[in-house]
Amino acid sequence: MSAPLKPDRNANSQRTAALSRVPEIGRVAHGSPTQLRLQEIWEAKPGWRGWLSTVDHKTIGLRYIITAFVFLLMGGIEALIMRLQLARPNATLLSPEQYNQLFTMHGVTMIFLYALPVLSGFSNYLWPLVLGARDMAFPRLNALSYWVFLFAGIFLYSSFPFGQAPNAGWFNYVPLSGLEYNTGPNIDIYALGMVLLGISTTVGSVNFVATLVRMRAPGMSLNRMPVLVWGTLTASGGNLLAVPSVSLAFLMLWLDRQFGTHFFDVLNGGRPLLWQHMFWMFAHPWVYAVVLPAMGIVSDALPVFCRRPLVGYTPVALATVGTMVVGFIVWIHHMFATGIPALALAFFGSASMVISIPSAVATFAWIATIYTGRPVFKVPFFYFAGFVLLFVIGGVSGVMTAAVPLDWQLTDTYFVVAHLHYVLLGINVFPVIGGIYYWFPKFTGRMMNERFGKIGFVVLFIGFNVAFFPMHIAGLLGMPRRIYTYPANMGWNTVNLITSLGSFLFALGVLIFLIDLVWSYKRGPVAGDNPWDAPTLEWSISSPPPPYNFATIPFVGSRHPLWEDRLPKERGERIGSVLDEGYILDHGREALGTTVLDGEPDIILKMPGDSYAPFLLGVFSSLMFAGMVLHAWWFTAAMLAASAASLIAWLWPERALIQREPNPVHDAGGAIG
């Protein structure tokens, strides 16, 4: 055998570039020349260069999760300040304007800067690992989606220190958000920030969909994908169709405010209800986009702690997709009190109740998994089981508000606030924390602390219910949402005091979780490859995974590649997975593309190297939006040109990626025929 080739980051040199080949199959031992070459090919450069240019999905995923958690803490502090103000009647801690900005930024932060991005983080990190791929389909686009998310978050917060933050609620109804009632930059920041954030969400969704259809390991047919993949796929499809609605609505609002168009201008035939339609046509599917991947986390991780496969994989996967499909025809239930025709009320009320069917399918599947399994009471199990309980409570209050007559009583009261916190915290935050306990060993190579984890869960669970359950009662007692204070004789004093105490208890639980996180990162016991004895592909590689993920692309023979020896259903005449031998693909950064339905090997994909283009494009496009807020039109135009230049440099066909012929083509004068 010849000496190991000098590693070449940019694939074959021109001379050896071929347009097709039979991919080599073999084993790659740790420490072998091939493994070292893969390491060198896929590793990011050290120092700040690698930091700004890396396109590794694992790095990007962790950045997403950490950034989203920073936003979660900011939104949480905003909530605590509001709860201090509301703990007693006639409080004067906050002025009405300060309160308006706080509740708006709390909503914006939690729903747009935490809830979806944290799940994008999980999916970015996990998708290639659970699908048996080397990276996402578009690694550079992945980096762009993170940078734009980060800059959009900073953008949305940029006016906060000046006391000019968005202040018309996260759903920003006109005419309150129109120029007539809101002259400052508050709403313009919100409008343009949301358009910017929409770019991040959209390119992220494009990437997930393309990754799903291209990058699954051979043999991973659609019915073998983990449920998390179904959840994020559904969310991405929903986002592709829903995000344009809100981006357009915010752009139209900005045009109304800055250039005098008349979309929402009642005096000239515009309609405020158009805003509500466009906002909720987006926001209702979005609500499912921020819960379905989290439900996927539970569907994949809960069975590991029940020591059995998920009960009803197929119904759960179909319910995931079904929830989103129905989710596109229920937006009017946010608008029951706007005086729309009775027929529409009846249709959208019943459609909203139909949502409970797929939700119940998933819920019974989880309960059956626990009931028929042999539960192992580790920390993630508690978070996932707690999630099921909170989801049921939030679901019941959801069905209650889907009933039109009851909704007329409850709309805009604290009952709705209670409902949405039960579903969003219950279905998002609990699975996310459980998911972090579950995958922390994979992220860092270390285990988190069981005792801390259990104490943290108990405090969080009790704090959550003490904080949010009384809100139902406050709502039934008639307390409207979004009021900055209330008189002492309304009968709301006790429930508000309990809610405020509960919210601080909840915050204490978050603090315990964070301490555990930091402590375990430094001192947690070493985890090993598969500390939970879990069945999916990410646990077949080292913790943390090497930069190339899989030294050889695995062949997948079942839904539980690591449990095949003990699941009789997946043995016998069925084929088995092969994890230690497979395609090597080490001529530069390469990945395997497979067919959409069956996952048959189809193409050797050339993956791009690290690049500054995503970072630069993110910076330039964000500065372009900043120029629009400041009315600095020349600056805006310059940034637009810079963005275009970065994009063209990015898209220029590369020889190394075999996007063009290795040698210049000449006119051969063939027949057109």
Binding site: V22, H262, I658
Partner: protein
Amino acid sequence: MADAFDVFDTNRALPIGSAGKRSSGWWGVWTMIATEAALFGYLIFSYLYLSSQSAQHWPPEGLPKLGLGGANTLVLLSSSVFVWFCERCVRRKRLRLGVASMAVGIVLGIAFVGIQLKEWHNHPYGPTTNLYGSLYFTITGFHLLHVLVGIVILLLLLTWTALGYFDDKRCAALTIGGLYWHFVDIVWLFIFTTLYLSPYVL
């Protein structure tokens, strides 16, 4: 126990890099078209919703004139044919003809922009005159922006083709860029139907 090796023909040669419809970009552009189609769908929804709610005469300036807009529609649609023909030439190694065809496609795209601007100029109303004007200029403006982006893409494709980057085996960029351009053309049919034709029947 049989294993997954037995299922696939592992001795088959696989194409490397961006090979036509097997390239990731081909899938990527379809997802982008899906989200862009949704965007135009929401624009058309806004128009239909606001016009249905309007108490006044709609459109306020009377029925739209069809002549210029109709001719412009033909200009735009014909450009798609030349873009398609360019890829066909490249696949048969007729580079010069391909470049010429792409150039004609680009000229037709620019002609569309010119005629559209002329039509904007002809209107007695502007984007802020009334609600109809806001809708008309926003919807056609959005489309015009897409045409301009499309023209930049076509210019890049022209350059790359002229530089000899593409032949029958590697021309995914032409397929992908062409798909985007066809989308921009086809979506215009929906806009034309909504803005120019629907006032005659609604």
